[in-house]
């Protein structure tokens, strides 16, 4: 009698497990224009917000915001640090620590600072902090030094005014200022050595760090003296670093977490029907791209015709549908979703047919091309690689997928100059201006790509035009030309955008979430989050 019972228990478990994955609609609707969710202001203040994210800020450069180059670090640091300007839900630039700014000429920006801002040690922020921070960034080794643009001089005009002079017009300047690496730092304390920014976070933001255990947890406390409109709604923010997707989903379901970051594109379906939870699908400007190594052994991709043929064979809609649950958008080099971004359906590769791809391969003598595609093991990269493999099989190209852990992948792709891999899959943060990420197609500026990219002077001039053109109509044209030039160069082929999945408890949390993020900062609105139950 007990044996049948055991069988029944096992069968019931399997049925329950299997049934839960039934496909349903993905909730990605906007609650207000530009917002997936808006905090209910009538909810009470106070309480402890429990968040979970996938990885900690694990950089060897420590906690220095100017050296932070990944969205995870930006997220964490945004609780403590703030920037002169910030990005609104529609990518307009909004006031931050600067209450306003003037642009007397395309190369001059004059920032008027708020007069009520203090660092968390109580000292008032000064214009010298702003000047010193920007000058420090310009002298740093951080990647944002490139994105901040051709800054010629930063000077303090008076106690509340700072002027920045550029050597040439640079349209993404304000967007670049809106990210954490350009945060205003406590330069007086940095100068006198009382603060080591690599080990301590001291900013003007709404929270202070109470404790941190590397790769385990963070605890932030709200500042009572925060300069913004009232102190943050919650008293404390706990962030648990939870590597396993399953554990994060479990924490969300059983109420141990109010909000979790999810990586599985099937998460909305897996959590469908779980009372009190929802998964918001935030569009981002981040996007996956395929690297074709122009320096590959045997010259497999040195012929542009081969690279163009591969680009033509890419079915971006199939990649999104099969590997990203339909949540990614096809994109060109200007990330889809950003103002002025080009239409990927109009690119030469999208309008050409597979016959043209086969013809290009034949002309290049590469009809039976075979190559290895290196991908890291984090989903959905392996799934994307499989779709690419199927895409290319249609034009007679055989792809062998080499799946590696992140460390091995990084070593293989960026470890040697010239690089020895054939092809690799990766993703870029798309940022908040359509021209910013285009810089990475110039290996002379983006040294990390020099191992596998050959400089293309024509492409470089198009990139420069896209970031220096101010007029709206002219800029749209310049960005379209950038997309076209990247499409034909095809050393790095943009594929689809990378969605962010945010699970949260609707019965305990009322968050504020943008519908689209440029800097991958889901925690952007944490100071406004309110708990529905204390």
């Amino acid at each position: 009698m007990r044996i049948p019972l055991l069988y029944c228990a096992v069968a019931a478990t399997l049925i329950v497990t299997g049934c839960s994955a039934a496909p349903t609609n993905t909730p990605a609707t906007e609650q207000a224009p530009g917002y997936l969710a808006v905090t209910d202001e009538s909810a009470p203040d106070g309480g402890t917000l429990e968040l979970q994210m996938t990885v900690d800020n694990g950089a060897a450069t420590g906690l220095d915001p100017q050296l932070a180059d990944v969205a995870t670090a930006w997220q964490l640091m945004s609780l403590v640090y703030e920037t002169l300007v910030t990005v609104g839900p529609d990518f307009t630039i909004e006031p931050g620590l600067a209450e306003s700014w003037d642009t007397p000429s395309p190369t001059r920006y004059v920032f008027h600072l708020r007069d009520d801002v203090t660092f968390s040690n109580g000292r008032a922020m000064t214009a010298d902090d702003v000047t010193g921070s920007l000058n420090r960034l310009l002298e740093s080794e951080g990647v944002w030094r490139t994105q901040i643009g051709p800054v010629e001089e930063v000077s303090t005009v008076d106690e509340r005014t700072v002027e920045v002079t550029l050597s040439s017009p640079y349209e993404p300047f304000l967007a670049a200022l809106a990210n954490i690496p350009a945060a205003v730092l406590p330069m007086k304390e940095v100068a006198d050595g009382s603060v080591d920014l690599a080990r301590t976070m001291l900013g003007t933001g709404p929270f202070v760090v109470e404790s941190h255990r590397q790769d385990v947890s963070w605890r932030f406390t709200a500042r009572e003296d925060y300069w913004g409109a009232g102190k943050p709604a919650v008293d404390t923010v706990n962030i648990a670093i939870t590597g396993q997707e399953q554990a994060r989903m479990a924490a969300l379901q059983n109420g141990n977490a109010d909000l979790v970051m999810l990586g599985n594109v099937d998460a909305p379906q897996l959590l469908q029907g779980v009372r009190g939870t929802t998964v918001a699908t935030q569009a981002t400007t981040d996007f996956y791209y395929l690297m074709l190594n122009s320096n590959a052994p045997g010259g497999k991709f040195s012929d542009p015709r081969v690279r163009r043929a591969i680009n033509i064979a890419m079915d971006r809609n199939a990649i999104s549908a099969s590997a990203l649950g339909g949540l990614g958008k096809p994109t060109g080099a200007t990330p889809a979703g950003l103002p002025g971004a080009c239409d990927p359906a109009q690119l030469p590769s999208a309008t050409a047919g597979l016959d043209q791809a086969r013809q290009l391969l034949a002309e290049a003598g590469a009809e039976n091309l075979t190559f290895e595609l290196a991908v890291f093991s984090t989903e959905p990269a392996p799934a994307i690689a499989q779709v690419i493999q199927q895409n290319l099989a249609r034009v007679g190209i055989t792809v062998t997928i080499e799946q590696l852990d992140e460390g091995s992948w990084s070593g293989k792709v960026y470890g040697e100059v010239p690089a020895t891999f054939d092809a690799a899959l990766s993703w870029f943060a798309g940022y908040a201006d359509a021209g910013m990420v285009g810089k990475w197609w110039n290996p002379e500026q983006a040294g990390f790509n020099a191992g596998f990219m050959k400089p293309n002077p024509e492409l470089n001039s198009v990139i420069d035009a896209a970031i220096s053109t101010a007029d709206s109509a002219e800029r749209t044209t310049a960005l379209r030309e950038l997309c076209t030039a990247v499409d034909e160069d095809a050393q790095m082929i943009p594929l689809v955008t990378r969605p962010a999945l945010i699970g949260y408890r609707t019965d305990t949390l009322s968050p504020t979430l943008y519908a689209t993020e440029g800097y991958g900062n889901v925690f952007r609105g944490v100071a406004d989050f309110r708990l529905l139950t204390q």
Binding site: D69, Q214, D215, A247, V413, G415
Partner: protein, 324 residues
């Protein structure tokens, strides 16, 4: 004197083994593709940044010099600093060791308290229809279902439905013993299933072997009670394979804890070392593997000593070895 000689030989053997392990793990960690600077600083880092980080941690020195520095400092109990957190490796391990120890002790206790009685019971009741069948099925399932499968099912069921126990949300024992117990019951239970099954099967086989020995028949003929026969004759003679398997099980528990720690998001040593491998945090990997090697060597030595104490034929002297 014979005993002293035995311990001396084992100690020397342990030192040589640890020395070889240290070479192996040092070489293996350096042969992993992708260096620390590349992995942790990421693709955007400039060559100057990578060089600075390499110099900071001595990774720019000759590999033999690096090994020698590490070995000599490790011998003083200093295993270096984690290149990720900047904290001493011993401090990091000290924070995480209680979690793994708690899991391992719970699994070991379950193996002894449940596995051994279950094995004895199913052996004594062997051949009596349903009990034996249930015992075989249960131990068969316990051995064959991998932890990640069982753990995934448990995580799913206990997070989806309010079944009274919590998944995740680890609280240190020192902070709140009650909450700690609540958060550790499920991981410990999942980790224990395999070891209980293996212990039960081993005990059952050992007991069955002993039960057909002539001295058991003689004891029955003398009219001794079943309880007396089991406790005085069977258990002692069946204990050597059980002791051996318990040693193996402890090693298994340390390995299994890695998966459980990941599944239930427990900040233990196992998941920490795996994470360190991914990030090429060499000092942590080297110290972790060396620590594991020490644990295994100590366990094996203690097992051999225990086996010798239980049965002189497995003893420590030269005669004992000849008699095997």
């Amino acid at each position: 004197m014979r005993l002293f000689s035995w311990w001396l030989r084992r100690a020397l053997s342990a030192v040589v083994t640890l020395f070889l392990v240290s070479i192996l793990i040092f070489a293996a960690s350096r042969l992993m593709p992708g260096g620390f600077a590349e992995v942790v600083l990421g693709p955007f880092a400039s060559p100057e940044q990578k060089a600075e980080v390499s110099a900071r941690y001595g990774l720019d020195q000759n590999i033999l010099v690096q090994y020698w520095l590490w070995l000599t400092t490790a011998l003083t109990g200093d295993f270096g600093i984690s290149m990720i957190s900047g904290e001493p490796v011993t401090t990091e391990f000290g924070l995480r060791l209680p979690v793994t120890a708690e899991l391992t002790v719970a699994g070991f206790a379950a193996a002894i308290c449940l596995g051994v009685p279950l094995g004895v019971y199913t052996a004594v009741r062997a051949g009596r229809g349903r009990t034996a069948a249930v015992g075989r099925l249960a131990s068969g399932l316990g051995v064959s279902v991998p932890e990640f499968v069982l753990g995934s099912i448990v995580v799913f069921l206990f997070s989806r439905f309010a079944l009274g126990l919590t998944v995740g949300g680890y609280v240190p024992l020192s902070e709140d013993p009650g909450q700690n117990l609540r958060s550790m019951v499920l991981p410990a239970a999942v980790l224990s299933v395999f070891v209980i099954a293996v212990t039960a099967r081993t005990t059952r086989d050992a007991v069955l072997t002993v039960l057909v020995e002539p001295y058991i028949t003689a004891a029955i003929a003398r009219g001794e009670s079943p309880w007396f026969i089991v406790t005085r004759h069977v258990l002692r003679n069946a204990s050597i394979p059980v002791v051996t398997v318990l040693s193996t099980i402890t090693a298994y528990l340390l390995g299994g804890a890695v998966i459980i720690e990941y599944l239930f998001n427990l900040p233990g040593v196992g998941s920490y070392i795996v994470q360190a491998v991914g990030r090429r945090d060499y000092a942590v990997v080297q110290a972790g593997v060396l620590l594991a090697a020490v644990v295994f060597i100590v366990l094996n030595t203690l097992t051999d000593a225990a086996a010798g104490a239980l049965d002189p034929r497995f003893g420590t002297g030269s005669k004992a070895r000849r008699s095997r």
